[in-house]
């Protein structure tokens, strides 16, 4: 699956305003043919706006979208030929599963024999042979989702757009469909843009992901790079750095930084050219260990301990009341006083301006 319908999908300064409000600001991206890209962010971050702009369902306020050399943002949605999977599936309730899947082919005036054959293929891909003559209302949520996917890919579109397709499914089914979509992408090689607010979903499915916040792109990279090297405190908060401690910088050079608060002094890694003033130290709950490490020492009192099988997820407080979240295999109980440590290279220090909003997002 190396042959793709295009080499590059390019967004140049794509902006969408509603009145004076910017839903999407100056989004520039280059996506390779065959790639699986996730747009990630909380609700209202502009990810669905971006997807609708790509589908042609929303006109751009500024900017342009190119598919190789062809400009497509001025093309009507029905002429773009992209497949789209909607959050609520948007199956046509008055048509059978087969008719739904064949709708796009019928609109393309594909001959009856070929239409039937291609619908058969699409039905087989999503394993709905048993249900192909039913009406959408007779199917379960997961089956409806498969129909929606089959309908979007039946035309073998150059680009498949998915708008939070798994958010209406229960946890178990979501995991299965996640694998399914990933497998489909591997087998068919269809370039996919996938919108989600679930960072786990984005990390596990995408080749590269775009983190959005209030309409602006925060970071674009592979799951590994974003997970390990978030570009700012906001992305860190979204990537599971649940502890975002706002502290004062006492010493900083290009690589290392020391930050200080009422209860602690932390040695960390300088990730955003921090020099002085306020900064945010981002630490994953799982990176904490029992006992001082690299001179990092946090004395905390356990407040809540959640059982997670092999580990406990613990909420604890420092003497100042600052909350600390950590994971441990020790069996701690509320009221226990423990000393935590964290390796300096696992303390990411970012500029402080973003602190409040990022803290909320976390």
């Amino acid at each position: 699956m190396t042959q793709h319908d295009f080499q590059e999908l390019r967004l140049d300064g794509v902006t969408r305003r509603y009145g004076t409000q910017n839903a999407l600001t100056d989004l520039s991206l280059s996506i390779r043919g065959g790639e699986f890209v996730a747009l990630l962010g909380p609700s209202g971050c502009g990810k669905s706006t971006a997807l609708n702009c790509l589908a042609g369902l929303l006109p751009l306020t500024e900017g342009a979208i190119h598919l190789d050399d062809r400009r497509i943002d001025t093309v009507q949605p029905e002429q773009r030929g992209f497949g789209m999977v909607f959050q609520n599936y948007a199956l046509f309730p008055h048509m059978s599963v087969r008719k739904n899947i064949g709708f796009g082919l019928k609109m393309r005036k594909v001959g009856k024999a070929e239409l039937n054959q291609r619908v058969d293929e699409a039905v087989a891909i999503v394993q709905l042979e048993e249900h192909q003559h039913k009406m959408p209302g007779q199917l379960s949520g997961g089956q409806q989702q498969r129909v929606a996917i089959a309908r979007a890919i039946a035309l073998r579109p150059p680009l498949v757009l998915m708008d939070e397709p798994l958010s209406n499914l229960d946890a178990q089914l979501r995991l299965e469909m996640r694998m399914e979509i990933r497998r489909l992408h591997q087998n068919l090689g269809l370039t996919t843009i996938y919108v989600t607010h679930d960072q786990e979903e984005a990390l596990s499915m995408a080749d590269r992901l775009v983190v959005l916040r209030e309409g602006a792109m925060q970071q674009f990279g592979t799951p590994e790079s974003i997970y390990d090297y978030p570009s700012n405190a906001y992305v860190a908060g979204f990537m599971g750095y649940r502890n975002l401690l706002e502290l004062d910088v006492t010493r900083a050079d290009a690589d290392d930084v020391v930050v200080q608060g009422p209860d602690l002094t932390l040695h960390g890694s300088n990730r955003e050219e921090v020099t002085a003033g306020r900064a945010v130290a981002a630490i994953r709950p799982a990176d904490f260990v029992m006992g001082e490490v690299d001179g990092n020492r946090l004395e905390v009192t356990v407040e809540v301990a959640e059982y997670h099988g092999r580990e406990l997820s613990v909420e604890a407080a420092m003497p100042s009341g600052q909350k600390v979240y950590f994971r441990t295999q020790e069996r701690v109980a509320p009221g226990d006083r423990v000393v935590l440590g964290v390796p300096a290279h696992r303390v990411l220090v970012f500029r402080g301006a973003e602190a409040t909003a990022a803290g909320l997002a976390a």
Partner: protein, 309 residues
């Protein structure tokens, strides 16, 4: 004491489980105390609809001049002056209902989403309902009558040589039925069309369907059952036309509708029995039309039109 306790204990079935109480089982079938909320409606329907209906029905079989119980019906169908009122009424009611429904579709389609000035336009469209037929008829005469502004303006501009006859004939009644019936049809159609999930239209667009194809293959089939209801209701309204047929029509000739004939029988000839018979004939004709529409409706998809298929 022990014996009493033994007797009052809930009886158990052979499996040892307590059977569900009858009250619970009734509630499962929707029979519970909230049914009392229906009481006012039941009383209302009985006193104001069922009783008068059956009273009229039996009255229609008791001709004033004696004779066979069916004498009124025989007279009606033998006298062309009476019989033809059915055709006249259908000739007004069916086209008016059809035009109202068809005209409401494009307007409702445009207004289905968030549209600037939607509330203003809706208000303007709804005003004719609140005015009532008499005021509408009055306005129609002043505007479109022989001495109305329309004729004066067109004559003054030299567009026409002799005045257009738009009132006191079929056209006048038809216009009046459209003016009063359209807002009603529009409001109903708007609510049906708003109930169709807008993402269906967007999904069809991404699958290559143009605006007309989307309307024809998605919106219209999902709207059709609602349109049939709208048609039936506006038809019933138009079929019982009385004031406008009198005021802007030609009540002795081309717009002599069945309700006028019934009114004349009951209140001018003081033949209540004949009047009742005509009212029954009116009801049957309406039911036949509604029945035909229902048969067509039964062939349509009538399930959910919202989000999850």
């Amino acid at each position: 004491m022990t014996a009493t306790a033994e007797e009052t204990r809930t009886p158990t079935d052979p499996n040892g489980r307590a059977p569900t109480s009858w009250r619970h089982r009734l509630a499962e079938r929707g029979v519970d105390r909230t049914l009392w909320l229906l009481a006012p409606a039941v009383v209302f329907a009985g006193v104001l609809f069922l009783y008068p209906f059956f009273y009229g029905l039996q009255l229609s079989f008791q001709p004033t001049d004696g004779g066979s119980p069916f004498a009124n019906y025989v007279t009606f169908f033998q006298d062309p002056f009476l019989r033809d009122t059915i055709g006249t009424t259908l000739g007004l009611g069916l086209p008016a209902a059809l035009v109202n429904v068809l005209a409401s579709i494009p307007v409702a389609y445009v207004m289905r989403g968030k549209v600037r000035g939607k509330r203003t336009l809706t208000t303007i469209l709804v005003v004719p309902i609140t005015l009532g037929t008499v005021l509408t008829a009055q306005g129609l005469i002043m505007y479109a009558g022989p001495d109305g502004w329309l004729n004066k303006a067109l004559l003054g501009l030299g567009v026409i040589d002799s005045e257009l006859v738009l009132t006191h004939n079929w056209i006048g009644v038809f216009l009046s039925l459209v003016i009063t019936g359209f807002p009603f049809a529009f409001l109903l159609t708007l609510s049906y069309i708003s109930g169709i999930d807008p993402s269906l239209d967007r999904a069809a667009a991404t699958l290559g369907a143009g605006a007309w194809q989307r309307f024809r293959t998605i919106t219209l089939p999902l709207l059709a059952p609602g349109l049939s209801i709208t048609f039936m209701l506006t038809f019933v309204l138009a079929f019982s036309v009385f004031p406008s047929a009198q005021l802007v029509g030609d009540p002795a000739g081309s717009t002599r509708v069945i309700s006028i004939a019934a009114y004349e029988a009951a209140f001018q000839d003081v033949d209540y029995s004949m009047g009742s018979a005509m009212a029954m004939i009116m009801a049957v004709v309406m039911l036949v039309v509604i029945g035909l529409v229902m048969v067509w409706r039964a062939s349509l998809y009538r399930g959910a039109t919202g989000g999850k298929g």
